[in-house]
Amino acid sequence: MIDLDDTDRAILRALQQDGGLSAAALGKLTGLSQPSAWRRVKRLEDAGIILGRQIVLDRFKLGFDVVVYLGVKLAAKGRVGLEDFERAVCAIPEVQLVQHVLGVYDYRLKVVARDLSDFERILRRRIMTLPGVGEVESNVLLSDEL
């Protein structure tokens, strides 16, 4: 773990607000020159603190009105079962998030769909047919509050 000072933390906070900020804009916000802001970002990337950048699209404008969180229990346990399930679930394009968890479920998934009937199709054809899948619980996202 690398040591972070207040300037590094200010850079991370600014980038969490807007990941598209240039080194010049970051420098202006944190009182650094453009090259030293760039070096600090580079150091945070090299240390594995900044893992990468993603483009953020408006899912509604692209017709994806539904987000569903799924809790999945595996029916067949065992190492081979886990690997088969993980490989197959990560390959589904509508599945944005795959997390292995401890608790009442084994996996937590986030699925995007155009509407509820599109979600039903994904659930029946892609999720319920995954190797080793057992009980599945769906919770539809209503709103983000934070």
Partner: protein, 152 residues
């Protein structure tokens, strides 16, 4: 705004690499640079592209524990949602709150330095939140996929 197949091509390329240089983007999208620049500007001004986000490794920042709480509220109280959410927003370690339709009402993500720190947050702050009738916890073991990419 109408989005055609060339726009979708640009969006797919940017989903695979958010910092792709314009020349490369135009080349891979099969167009010259100026129409590519125009299309990108249009997608941004129409709000289809909302911006860029950085992915931060919170474990590398010393937050080793991530717990997802699944909360059921006492819905006999008319203002249960509003009061719960207002109180939960005041907990700094809570970094996401979402309302859901399904078996649980709210999901909330909590990050902590270690299990002792998590236990302190859970006992001192979470269990004191108003109108909770049930809470279940899922603890993150490993994240196998985390992508905002849409299947366009």
């Amino acid at each position: 705004m109408q989005i055609d197949s060339a726009d979708r091509k640009i969006l797919r390329l940017l989903q695979s690499n958010a910092v792709m240089p314009m020349a490369e983007l135009a080349l891979q999208a099969g167009m010259s640079i100026s129409p590519c620049t125009r299309r990108l500007a249009r997608l941004e001004s129409a709000g289809v592209i909302k911006g860029r986000a950085v992915l931060i490794n919170h474990r590398a920042l010393g937050l080793a524990v991530e717990v997802f709480l699944r909360i059921t509220l006492d819905k006999t109280r008319s203002n249960a949602f509003d009061e719960f959410i207002a109180a939960a927003r005041r907990i700094p370690e809570v970094h996401a709150i979402q309302t859901l339709l399904g078996r649980v009402d709210i999901r909330m993500d909590v990050r902590a330095r270690d299990l002792a720190h998590y236990q302190e947050i859970y006992r001192e702050r979470i269990l004191g939140l108003p109108h909770m009738s049930d809470v279940e916890s899922l603890m993150l073991v490993a994240e196998l996929k985390n992508s905002e990419a849409l299947p366009i």
